[in-house]
Amino acid sequence: MKWDFSFIWTAFLDLLPALPTTLYITAVSVSCGFVIGLIVTLSRMYKVPVLSQIGTAYVTFVRGTPMLTHLLIVYIGLSMLLDHLSDKFGWSFNSVSIPMIGFAYIAFSITAGAYLAEVIRSGLLAVNKGQLEAAYSVGMTTFQALRRIVFPQAFAAALPNLSNSLIGMLHGSTLAFTVSVVDINAKAQIVASTNWKFPEAYLAAALLFWGLTVLIERGTALLEKRINVYNRGGVA
């Protein structure tokens, strides 16, 4: 077997058009997942009836099952449900109206939500209870106290884990190829099979993912340095 090193670069350029797809899936799933995670965590923390139980069940089920399974369940299950309802009520809207990437958005948001719920919880647990009490003692409402005092500190504490989840979702987004979404990895497969040069194309994909991951790592490190100024003792 012979390696065609120059083809790695050719493949790399061919993969670039698929880059936005990967980034969209990652960005949408992590952002929606963050909102889901926040709602789940807060309702569990404040023991909101019904919502907190649903939240607990959701976190254990989703974390207990593979990401690929979530995608397949959403893809098949949601389509069937939608088509059923569509028939019943005579909607013009059915599963075909949803673009394939939409299923990936939904499924991966559900996945990310469960993992991020735990990340957010660990961040909130890292904030001393006295901080909330101090906020109450100066007369803040719970909302003000959370927004101004607790969340900023929880975010700083959760940042390393958040970046981990972001990287995990970036890599996990490759599973979207199972519902025929052409992300970086799927594109690599296409490039590979049309040119009959497999390792080169996959290596190009790996390099692209690695580059993205390094960017995320660097970005987090910078952010961490910035928002953790207050944790440095003995300066000033």
Binding site: Q153, Y230, N231
Partner: protein, 250 residues
């Protein structure tokens, strides 16, 4: 005038406060003393509703809250009438000394930033930290942090400032600077309730001393009475340890 009426508090089956009645006049400095576990801190935290009393009533001038079923609005109002200085300081860790003092003014009292800033700087200067405005809590000593805590409480201009063992977490060397600040503001006629183990300080600063044990007020009165001629046997016992050390001064 602050009236506490029949305040009770239980943690599960453990009754920590067994019906506390206490009246605090405007401008009075009340020291609450007593052994650990007597309910002093719990009582103080009930006044700010950081602890939810099981029953009872508090009134501050015309305003009153029944603790059996308090309204959310009333709790919020109650908290705005009081300010707390914590044993562990509890400064907002991600904010500088100046921001810590300004926070309540800007966010809760909606005072314009410039004005809040001016007032906060004045207060920090008053507690001797005019040169530490931009320091984060992690860059300050315990004594300095507690003085920021006091400035933060003062800034809110509350009806009453609650001190929860303000010097218990400090090095012996740093206790003096904090007590000095408290003594200074006590002279300004701000109503204060201080839970403390510093008997000499209580005797010196307070107008009224309350001795608590087992969730009840055993005895209360002016400091010279409580410290020199207490009526109750238990008070005598408790204070015996301290009066022999009365040479101690700050």
């Amino acid at each position: 005038m602050i009236h506490l009426k029949r305040i009770t508090k239980s943690f599960g089956r453990n009754e920590v406060l067994k019906g506390i009645d206490l009246t605090i006049r405007k401008g009075e400095v009340v020291a609450i003393v007593g052994p650990s576990g007597s309910g002093k801190t719990t009582l103080l935290r009930c006044i700010n509703y950081l602890e939810k009393p099981s029953d009872g009533e508090i009134s501050i001038d015309e305003f009153s809250v029944h603790f059996k079923k308090p309204h959310k609005k009333d709790i919020h109002a109650l908290r705005q009438k009081s300010a707390m200085v914590f044993q562990q300081y509890n400064l907002f860790r991600h904010k500088t000394a100046l921001e810590n003092v300004m926070e309540g003014l800007v966010v809760v009292q909606k005072i314009p930033k410039e004005e809040a800033r001016k007032r906060s700087v004045e207060l920090l200067e008053k507690v001797g930290l005019g040169d530490k405005l931009d320091s984060y809590p992690s860059q300050l000593s315990g004594g300095q942090q507690q003085r920021v805590g006091i400035a933060r409480a003062l800034a809110l201009n509350p009806e009453v400032i609650l001190f929860d063992e303000p010097t218990s977490a400090l090095d012996p060397e740093l206790v003096g600077e904090v007590l000095g600040v408290i003594r200074k503001i006590a002279k300004e006629g701000i109503t204060m309730i201080i839970v403390t183990h510093e008997m000499a300080f209580a005797q010196d600063v307070a107008n009224h001393v309350v001795f608590m044990e087992g969730g009840v007020i055993v005895e209360e009165g002016p400091p010279n009475v409580i410290f020199n001629v207490p009526k109750e046997e238990r008070t005598k016992q408790f204070l015996a340890r301290y009066t022999s050390e009365s040479a101690y001064s700050i």
